[in-house]
């Protein structure tokens, strides 16, 4: 069953076509990998879904509801959870407080009413659960400046999970991690997926992409190149060419 339907999205920045008539869908319960060379339009696509970038054309449909005209925060409240590529923790808050702010979405929904809501313990308790799920509960009371990047990346995911999103959008979650860390992190994503979390993943680490994604969509130059299961897609010559450059495949042949 399709959770997110993206239909004919086009985005232009000045004269540059960042995305051109791209359609894709994200099915309930899958890990969809969105791959392609640098500048292919992957991050732009995620930004269109979250509302940071507005598309010039096309529709974004979450379970039958159009998101196009909603502001960012409203889309998040509808179930779009986005972990950014560059981790941006609130530096004045501990990791647990960072996550608890998201876990208390109920308390912050109505701005005026939030003035009369004081109780934070429940949200903090819940934040520990999410931190444990990504394996960093030991750093709950640390401030972002005192922990390594790997921890911050996990915190970012825990913070998004605390929003209980219907789909999790991840932009290069493995970038900057060594292979051991990357594999461990990918395992966490697999585990989340087994528990029913739908995930849309942008990632350059193709070994991990091949291992955990159930389906792939390849973008190149703002257009959709191909989609299908990882084994088939990653062995197609057009995909290899897009990644490595034209001529390489012919040379091998």
């Amino acid at each position: 069953m399709s959770l997110l339907d993206i239909r004919n999205i086009s985005v232009r920045f000045g004269g540059v076509h960042a995305l051109e008539e791209v359609s894709l869908n994200l099915n309930q319960g899958e890990i969809l990998g969105l791959i392609g060379p640098n500048g292919a339009g992957k991050t732009t696509m995620l930004r269109v879904i979250t509302g940071v970038v507005r598309s010039n054309k096309g529709e974004i449909d979450l379970n039958g509801e159009l998101l196009n005209n909603l502001p960012i925060h409203a889309r998040v409240r509808k179930g779009v959870g986005f972990a950014q590529q560059l981790v941006r923790p609130f530096r004045e808050m501990t990791l647990a407080e960072n996550v608890a702010l998201a876990a208390g979405a109920e308390q912050t929904m109505h701005p005026w009413r939030s003035m009369f809501r004081v109780e934070r313990r429940e949200a903090l308790r819940e934040s520990l659960k999410w931190l444990a799920m990504v394996g960093i509960e030991d750093a709950a009371d640390s401030f972002p400046n005192a922990v390594p990047l790997g921890y911050l990346k996990r915190m970012e995911v825990a913070r998004v999970l605390a929003l209980r999103p219907r789909m999790l959008l991840l932009d290069e979650p493995l970038a900057g991690l060594n292979q051991v860390e990357a594999t461990a992190f990918a395992d966490i994503l697999l585990e989340l997926n087994r528990n029913g979390q739908t995930i849309l993943l942008i990632e350059h680490n193709l070994a991990e992409v091949r291992r955990i994604c159930s389906r792939l969509v390849v973008l190149d130059n703002g257009c959709k190149l191909v989609e299908g299961i990882p084994e088939t897609v990653l062995n197609q010559s057009s995909v290899l060419e897009a990644y490595i450059g034209q001529g390489t495949v012919h040379a091998e042949n």
């Binding site: 925060h73 950014q84 702010l101 004081v118």
Partner: protein, 288 residues
């Protein structure tokens, strides 16, 4: 005795003014360099009304409402511009206010409004009223600080793009900060006008906005107690030492610089640092 009462009243009014700016700049991270314009709107509104025989408290409330309304309008601008640009925009608000007020015959033009009616509470009664408002505004600040609203303000002040990604309606929260902060500035203006009973455009000049900002920054951006202490101190210094009045901009400018350079957390940050250092020192001593 009369002098001390007057001084304390003035101190209380300054505290309300700086706590109101603290809601916007300290809590929500939106720098305002023109806050005294809203103090002025409250002062002029309340004075015009009491001179037209409106009851004092109704006039005070009207001043708050009008200041808050204009505050929301400036808040709407804050949704479009950030950081330095917001600072410049709010500074412009101060000059626009002065420019408009100076030209209005019915507001007394350059000469301002004099013989503002006495609220009839007596000097001590008026002081008690002002101190009562100080307590209320401090309690309101405290409530915001410990509530989920304060939590969201922290996030908005830290990184508003990320706050949006957590589903927080950043625009709405910012507008609330502006509405509350400027309405309370209007309150301090109404009280000020009925304390000195004579106002003119220069009472709300740019240097007064800087004075309010200095109180907030020197006290410790966001710290309620720190801001109260700093405004108590900075509001009476020029009264005690007359010469400070002439060099106010220089003195407050240098103080702002020194604080930002050496203790960005202001008095509150300094106290916290000392507390942690002494704790470490004593812990070390115990271990030896």
């Amino acid at each position: 005795m009369g002098y001390e009462i007057s001084l304390l009243t003035f101190m209380g009014i300054s505290i309300i003014g700086s706590l109101s700016l603290n809601l916007i700049t300290g809590f929500c991270g939106q720098v305002s360099l023109g806050h005294v314009a809203f103090v002025g709107i409250g002062a002029y509104t309340a004075s015009v009304l009491t001179k037209a025989d409106t009851p004092f408290f109704v006039a005070l409330l009207a001043g708050m409402l009008l200041a808050g309304t204009f505050g929301v309008m400036v808040g709407l601008a804050s949704l479009r511009v950030r950081h330095d640009f917001l600072a410049i925009t709010t500074m412009g608000v101060n000059f626009v206010f002065l420019g408009v007020v100076r030209e209005q015959e019915w507001l007394g033009g350059e000469l301002g409004i004099s013989s503002i009616p006495d609220p009839g509470l007596g000097k001590l009664g008026f002081l008690a009223l002002v101190l009562g408002f100080v307590v209320l505004v401090a309690l309101l600040s405290l409530q915001i600080r410990r509530s989920w609203m304060g939590y969201v303000f922290d996030a908005v002040s830290g990184d508003e793009d990320t706050a949006r990604m957590l589903g927080l309606d950043v625009s709405h929260y910012k507008l609330i900060a502006f509405a509350l902060g400027t309405a309370l500035a209007g309150l301090s203006g109404g009280l000020y006008a009925h304390h000195v009973r004579f106002i003119f455009p220069d009472s709300f000049a740019f240097v007064e906005s800087i004075t309010l900002l200095a109180m907030v920054v020197i006290g410790g951006n966001g710290s309620i107690l720190g801001v109260i202490l700093a405004s108590a101190l900075l509001s009476v210094l020029p009264q005690w030492f007359q010469f400070i009045g002439d060099y106010k901009l220089l003195l407050y400018g240098s103080l702002l610089f020194v604080v930002m350079r050496f203790s960005p957390g202001g008095l509150a940050g300094l106290a916290q640092n000392l507390f942690h250092k002494s704790k470490k020192y004593f812990a070390l001593k115990e271990n030896q």
